[in-house]
């Protein structure tokens, strides 16, 4: 069995000392988990290392940590996988999750952050009345659909590396919003609209997510919290037509319109469109407000009046085709791995989405890749 060195982040609030790194070397099988290695260290070398753990099988959600920089469960991260993330011969670093205060060693205060946010989304079913004598009759598909968010084990890995939360600690965040989808997607719940209105209007709500995909990468259970957030947005914006005061929905629509027309992002249109168009009363003060920024950009040659007003780039036919295909669908298709299975390449049950795997998906582009955007057009 090979030797593995774990570099564990230690912290004991009673010691009065700052956190520090401590190395432990253990002999383990390469497909053993990082948790098994930590337990081996605890058993044979130092029983004082603090880590929450129980099931060892990625079900209880206790052992969320960061391993060589990546959040996840210690119990389902293999040593060889963890080691491969770092340079050869370097120790495997294990540290507490981010975005939450550390209590001791690898143990973080989930109640102060994670659970507080869960409680924010009214995390229980508000029954549709009348409650039937027997069960609610609901489509099987809906129950399979919400199983993806029910599969969340509340480990906090997504919260740990949520970039929006790092910038805005008030952000309700990926885990809690995935939990919210569990009710919005549940036909037995009476308050879909109220829930969505609430989460749209909250400036820390569904439109506070910046699509960084960190939560999808972090999640050990395939819950894909960001996908659930996007679904909340679609239901809020498209189905309930909730026009939130954060302009989140209008902004998304402006993006789509912009790409459909230009094929590329054209920011001079994006801003007014997000407020309902250049001449909309809502847009005028916003445009006025942004004038100093525009002037500065013009002065520094980042943008020219001609570029700002004229669209030199038009959407190529391939982009138009994408819109045509999607808009021609009789109903919206949702990514749901319980329905599709993400290991599938050949028989993924007609769900036309890009499957999520640990490896980058080799997608052969069927249309010419556009030139990289020029500086003035990029965000």
């Amino acid at each position: 069995m090979p030797d593995y060195t774990l570099r564990i982040r230690r912290y004991n609030p009673e010691s009065g000392e700052a956190a520090y790194w401590e190395d432990h070397t253990v002999q383990m099988k390469s497909h053993s988990s990082v948790l098994e290695a930590i337990l081996e260290v605890k058993a044979k070398q130092d029983g004082s290392i603090g880590i929450r753990c129980s099931c060892r099988a990625a079900i209880c959600g206790s052992c969320g940590v960061r391993i060589n920089g990546k959040p996840g469960l210690a119990c389902n991260t293999h040593l060889q996988t963890a080691a491969a993330r770092g340079a050869e011969g370097t120790p495997i670093t294990v540290e507490p999750m981010g975005n939450m205060p550390v209590i001791r060693d690898l143990i973080v205060d989930m109640d102060a952050v994670h659970w507080k946010k869960i409680r924010r989304v009214t995390p229980w079913l508000i029954n549709k009345e009348p409650i039937p004598e027997r069960e609610y009759i609901v489509p099987h598909e809906n129950m399979v659909d919400v199983t993806q968010s029910m599969a969340c084990i509340q480990c906090g890995a997504c919260v740990s590396d949520c970039l929006s939360m790092e910038v805005d600690p008030g952000f309700i965040g990926p885990a809690a919003l995935a939990k919210a989808y569990r009710f919005v997607g549940d036909p037995r719940d009476a308050e879909h609209y109220e829930r969505l209105k609430d989460l749209s209007e909250d400036e820390h709500g569904i439109y506070d997510c910046t699509h960084c995909f960190n939560c999808i990468d972090a999640c050990p259970k395939g819950v894909a919290p960001m996908s659930q957030i996007m679904r909340l947005r679609r239901v809020a914006g498209s189905d309930f037509e909730i026009e939130d005061r954060n302009n989140g929905h209008r902004h998304e629509r402006a993006f789509v319109k912009n790409i459909k027309r230009n094929g590329l992002l054209h920011e001079a249109d994006l801003l007014p469109d997000s407020y309902g168009g250049k001449l909309h009363p809502r847009a005028v003060p916003e445009l006025m407000q942004s004038l100093p920024t525009v002037m500065k950009a013009v002065a520094r040659g980042k943008v020219t009046p001609a570029k700002a007003l004229l669209h030199e780039h038009k959407a190529p036919p391939e982009v138009k085709q994408i819109f045509k295909t999607i808009e021609a669908r009789p109903k919206r298709e949702e990514l749901n791995l319980y329905v599709s299975g993400y290991e599938d390449a050949e028989d993924n049950l007609d769900v036309a989405h890009v499957p999520h795997t640990d490896e980058p998906t080799p997608l052969a582009p069927t249309y010419p890749v556009p030139e990289p955007p020029t500086e003035s057009e990029s965000e």
Binding site: N12, S54, C55, R56, H140, T147, I153
Partner: protein, 562 residues
């Protein structure tokens, strides 16, 4: 000082259900758990929950299957209660939001399970325990005014007053090491089984028999302790569970020659015979050389349509991939019997009351006894919920007519001193992990699917020795904040008490019934052994053994074949 009508220890399904029931009945309730409630091991229950809810089904049929599954050791009055009340419990769960999977008509869907004459297992993919546990916790968050939650508080002792009544508990806040007395009119133990006394086990590291040992130490009787369930499908290397739902969905068991060997052991039910039957069949195949070189047989899930596996057995797809490197949708996976569940526990009546006034128990910590010699798959979730609720309601009613008892004051100082002594232990003793490892491997070697007098005696001797070593085991952590070392030292003592209880009962029962198969007494012997074995504390000596009758209402013992 926290003071409640009902104090619940343990926050898995039984504990949370008890809390909701007691709170709903108007009692003031506290629920204490050494882990966050949703980390409780109920979360790992995969396959589903049984109830005779379908139009073609009847509670009598469910009850008979359970009685037969128990090898006639289950108490039939309690089994009748459980099976009668099961349909309403499923509907309660459905109404509070459990996302049970549906049939094509949108009604609750079922899957087949072992030892059952009907497909009556309701399920949420293969995360049924998780789904129910999380939904109950949603309700605890909703009803936070009714139920005070103490998350990550470890119970060290149950408290008795001068009359011998249980009047509360002492718990340690893991976050700062503070000890606290919890006064209560009644205490409900819901702290689960003791799987960690075995190695390997499907059970989580937290499942250390705390409640069984705590109750035993204050004089509660333990019953059916010899009945330890080995689940037929666990991974060879680490003991992880592959749900029975896999066979329920159509997977086959095969030996190394590719033969469907269950045809020889259970010609009618095949892979879906009772767990004890299937586990023995597998172990026989392995022992007689028809298994694989790694001491396993194979579970072939490729028999299940791939779409169905991905939708309904996703968790074991993950487990196969992450922990065995096998894509179960494409190739068979190697499995063997592994320790899974304790049918035995703290002896209770059908309201969860133990022989210690004021002390209740529900769930795996308890023995009602609805499982007798062998539990049917998907009856444990049902057991936790039905008897959790009944205990909660009963304890709430009991609280109405009585004043808050006063706890004996000196006890807190005693416990404090004991913990200080553990933390101050000189190093040099054996390591806790080493003792625990020897305990687990000993139990798994001598007290597993096949047992005999010599092996059990040998194991008992080892456990007695470990009991002497444990109080001197080394401690590394001298702190107060999340000192997991001191908790492990206390848990080790609990596991050793439980292990001894198991071994005493297993040596006593000189017959083969349910999960207890004695190679030296291979037949069931109703004339002498159709009775429960109760064990209770006897100072520091080997526990005392007594017998109690099995309640038989309408199903006389018959020969048991599947």
């Amino acid at each position: 000082m926290p003071s409640h009508d009902v104090l619940i220890i343990g926050a898995g399904l039984a504990g949370q259900r008890a809390a909701l029931a007691a709170g709903g009945a108007g009692a003031s309730v506290a629920i204490v758990s050494k882990v966050h409630p949703i980390r409780s091991h109920s979360v790992a229950a995969a396959g589903g929950i049984n109830a005779a809810l379908g139009p073609e089904d009847s509670w009598e049929s469910h009850a008979f299957d359970t009685v037969k599954g128990s090898d006639y050791l289950g108490d039939q009055d309690a089994i009748e209660i459980m099976c009668r009340e099961a349909p309403d419990e499923i509907l309660y769960l459905e109404h509070i939001g459990v996302t049970f999977h549906r049939s094509e008509t949108g009604h609750l869907g079922t899957r087949a399970f072992g030892g059952a004459s009907q497909a009556r297992t309701y399920y949420v993919a293969d995360i049924t325990g998780q789904a129910i546990l999380h939904v109950l916790y949603e309700q605890l968050m909703k009803h936070h005014e009714r139920v005070d939650r103490y998350e990550e508080w470890f119970t060290t002792d149950l408290l008795r007053d001068d009359h011998g009544h249980c009047v509360g508990a002492i718990c340690r806040n893991l976050r700062d090491g503070r000890l606290q007395v919890f006064d209560a009119k009644s205490v409900i133990l819901a702290s689960g089984g003791a799987g960690q006394a075995f190695k390997p086990t499907t059970n989580g590291l937290i499942v250390t028999g705390d409640g069984i040992a705590q109750a035993f130490r204050i004089g509660a009787k333990l019953m059916d302790m010899e009945m330890v369930q080995y689940h037929p499908t666990t991974l060879a290397e680490n003991g992880f569970l592959i749900t029975e739902g896999a066979r329920g969905e159509g997977a086959w068991l095969l030996n190394a020659a590719g033969e469907r060997f269950m045809e020889r052991y259970a010609p009618n039910k095949l892979d879906l015979a009772s767990r004890d039957v299937v586990s023995r069949a597998e172990q026989t195949e392995i022992n007689e050389g028809r298994g694989f070189p790694d001491g396993t047989v194979a579970l072939d899930i490729t028999k299940v349509p791939r779409k169905r596996t991905l939708e309904a057995l996703r968790e074991i797809v993950n487990i196969g991939r992450d922990f065995a490197g096998v894509d179960i949708t494409r190739e068979p996976i190697h499995i063997r019997p592994g320790m899974h569940y304790m049918m035995g526990g703290v002896k209770t009546d059908s309201f969860g009351e133990t022989n210690v006034p004021g002390l209740y128990a529900a769930g795996e910590v308890a023995c009602v006894s609805v499982h007798g010699g062998n539990r049917l798959g998907a009856n444990s979730l049902l057991d936790t919920l039905i008897f959790g609720r009944r205990a909660g309601e009963h304890a709430a009613a009991r609280a109405k007519g009585m004043p808050m008892p006063s706890t004996p004051g000196s006890k807190l100082a005693d416990v404090e001193a004991r913990i200080v002594a553990i933390i101050a232990r000189p190093s040099g003793g054996r390591r806790i992990a080493a003792i625990k490892d020897e305990l687990g491997t000993t139990m798994n070697r001598y007290c597993a699917v096949f047992r005999d007098a010599d092996g059990l005696a040998e194991a008992h001797e080892i456990i007695r020795r470990l009991k002497e070593e444990a109080p001197k085991a080394s401690i590394d952590d001298r702190g107060s904040v999340f000192n997991q070392d001191v908790i492990a030292a206390i848990e080790l003592g609990y596991m050793l008490d439980v292990a001894e209880g198991i071994l005493v009962a297993a040596q006593e029962r000189k017959e083969s019934r349910g999960a207890q198969f004695r190679t030296d007494f291979p037949e069931r012997n109703d004339a002498q052994w159709l009775k429960h074995i109760d064990v209770s504390v006897n100072g520091g000596d080997v526990p005392k053994v007594e017998f109690s009758p099995v309640t038989i209402t309408r199903w006389q013992p018959q020969e048991r074949t599947y």
